[in-house]
């Protein structure tokens, strides 16, 4: 395998009898912006949750920089109920890291429905995300012996707020900010964990066309600035086609196409999936 940042191998995620993702294989290379698109309920967010450790895949393996971060195979009751393919391929492999471990390794994410820390200011929201790279323990932190690190973190949080253009509202309550700003704040918070791979779950949801264009430029800007690799789920085709290097399309949990924006636009299967073309 080449130098993939993230590699999903035959991921199947099954909730009881419902197969949310079926045999999804994909890879994301260093410095790419890769989009995952598909109709509602196709399993896009589930794929994210498998990568970030929220779910443990029923079958399949996820590698991050060629290191196994999640793997599973059908066990117990699932053996009988399993409806996916490759049931025997991953026997004996079982890795499930908690989301905080995975974030620690360098994968940061945002959420489809914004999940900011409600009672806290924009600044504190970003500052909390610097907690995981701490070198202090509870005693040195309580007695402020880590003041150098603390200062560094505060400066960094402020700098990140500046980069996403929220420095003016740093002391405002996070939930009192306009929607678009909350989205950017979530990205700033994700960046504060010092990731190498950024997962964006519908970052443009609820944005108007102008805001969407700005967001596209913004994503490209932070990608260059922080040397990131970006994996994005999105419904706004303008945004997806504008910024993506490659696109994966899923429908009913199955991968139906992959390729450059140009290829995807002309792919009959994708057009059918989005417009329901088969019947006519």
């Amino acid at each position: 395998m080449s130098e993939s940042v993230l590699r999903l191998e035959n991921i199947t995620m099954q909730f009881g009898g419902v197969v949310a993702i079926n045999d999804l294989t994909m890879h994301i290379d260093q410095g790419e912006i890769v989009a995952l698109i598909g109709p509602n309920g196709a399993g896009k967010t589930t794929a994210f949750n498998c990568v970030t450790g929220v779910y443990e895949p029923t079958n399949g393996a996820v590698y991050f920089h060629d290191k196994l971060i999640a793997a599973g195979h059908p066990q117990g009751k699932m053996k009988r109920m399993y409806a996916g393919t490759n049931a025997d391929k991953f026997v004996g492999m079982k890795v499930s890291l908690t989301p905080d471990r995975i974030t620690h390794m360098g994968i940061a994410r945002t959420f489809q429905n914004i999940r900011l820390f409600k009672s806290q200011t924009a600044f504190e929201n970003v500052l909390i995300a610097t907690h995981l790279r701490r070198t202090s323990n509870i005693f040195t932190a309580a007695f402020h012996l880590n003041y150098k690190e603390e200062k560094r973190n505060r400066d960094r949080a402020m700098e990140l707020l500046g980069i996403v253009g929220l420095a003016d509202v740093a002391e405002e309550k996070a939930t009192s900010l306009p929607y678009g700003m909350q989205r950017r704040l979530e990205i700033a918070r994700a960046l504060a964990t010092q990731p190498t791979l950024l997962l964006l779950d519908e970052p443009a949801a609820g944005m108007n066309p102008q805001e969407t264009i700005d967001l596209g430029l913004f994503i490209q800007r932070i990608k260059e600035k922080f040397g990131l690799t970006v994996f994005v789920i999105e419904h706004h085709m303008d945004l997806v086609m504008g910024i993506s290097d490659r696109i994966y399309v899923v429908e009913f949990g199955k991968l139906i196409a992959e390729g450059t924006p140009h290829e995807i636009q002309n792919n009959q299967a994708v057009i059918d999936a989005y417009l329901g073309g088969n019947d006519e």
Partner: protein, 329 residues
């Protein structure tokens, strides 16, 4: 003289109440903990058992041949030990309990508090805990002098505790605790290890609960496991709700008001009162609690976010200024 003792009563109760709130505050991140009374009991017993003067052992442990602990510790060491033992116990109990969430967590902690109470009263532990009998004659507020006065000691101890709590709250760990309270999923996605941090805040809160229990023992002069019922935990929760969830100064003010109302200002309602030849109706033993309940209901109805909301006393002026500045813009 009588008035003086009432004042002292108020002062001491306030101080004990301060400790209650501290115990509660750190644990906010892990959700409802109804086991507070159990850990206060542990603190109270540890303090009492290790500070009873050797000479008095025979009298206190009269049913257990003078007990098996044949030494006594200095007051401050015993006080610290009270917190540490409660914290260690919390660490153990936290391992299974903190895997639960919300209501289930509350019920489990409540259960453990009851278990602790039962175990302490167990006859086989009598040589240490004196079974279900009283522990007494250990140093109390009334005979603990600093700079020649007995008033200072409770204030100093609770002041130190509150300072520690504030330091922890304002550290990076305090922020992580708050983040977990706000949104567990997001906190975990931002790299906060949920179990580790919940365990930590549970241990910290129980450390202060232990010290609070020891101070309560010092205030009461005697300790008996039977008095550490879950009603004590509800008192703490009530104070916190009245004070405002998330406000240190609010909790302090509320705990003072709560204790002062229930034990001091409303006391007169319990005594029959005759003005001239007119016998004021309703005033009899127990009426105090009726009025007190009404007061609490009024507070809960009209100050739904507590007296202070999530503001601090020293922030009120500041927030207004900022709001004013925004308005001017």
């Amino acid at each position: 003289m009588r008035k003086m003792s009432k004042l002292r009563l108020g002062v001491c109760l306030t101080v004990v109440a301060l400790l209650y709130f501290g115990a509660w505050y750190a644990e906010k991140s892990m959700g409802a903990n109804l086991g507070q009374a159990g850990f206060m009991l542990v603190g109270a017993y540890v303090y009492a058992v290790f500070t009873i003067p050797l000479k008095k052992h025979a009298a206190v442990y009269q049913y257990y041949n003078g007990g098996i602990i044949q030494f006594e510790l200095p007051l401050i060491v015993a006080l610290l030990l009270a917190g540490i033992v409660a914290a260690l116990l919390a660490a153990l109990i936290g391992l299974p309990v903190l895997r639960l969430k919300s209501d289930y967590l509350a019920i489990a902690t409540l259960g453990f508090a009851e278990i602790i109470r039962a175990v302490v009263q167990w006859d086989s532990l009598g040589p240490i805990t004196n079974g279900s009998n009283l522990l007494k004659t250990y140093p109390t507020f009334n005979n603990t002098k600093i700079f020649g006065t007995t008033v200072l000691f409770p204030f100093i101890v609770s002041g130190v505790c509150i300072a520690l709590i504030l330091l922890i709250i304002n550290s990076t760990y305090g922020r992580a605790f708050k983040a977990i309270r706000d949104d567990e999923v997001a906190a975990e996605a931002m790299g906060v290890n949920l179990f580790h941090h919940k365990e930590l805040s549970f241990v910290i809160s129980c450390f202060f609960a232990g010290i609070g229990g020891a101070l309560l023992a010092m205030f009461q002069g005697t300790v008996q496991a039977n008095s550490f019922k879950s009603a004590m935990t509800y008192d703490v929760l009530l104070m916190v709700v009245i004070g405002g969830m998330g406000s240190v100064s609010g909790s302090v003010i509320a705990s003072f008001l709560y204790i002062a109302c229930s034990e001091w200002w409303l006391r007169f309602l319990d005594n029959p009162l005759t003005i001239g030849s007119f016998n004021v109706p309703l005033l009899r033993s127990g009426f105090r609690m009726v009025v007190f309940s009404a007061v609490i209901m009024v507070v809960v109805l009209f100050f739904r976010r507590g007296i202070m909301g999530d503001k601090e006393l020293w922030n009120i002026g500041m927030r207004r200024q900022k709001a004013g500045r925004r308005a001017r813009k």
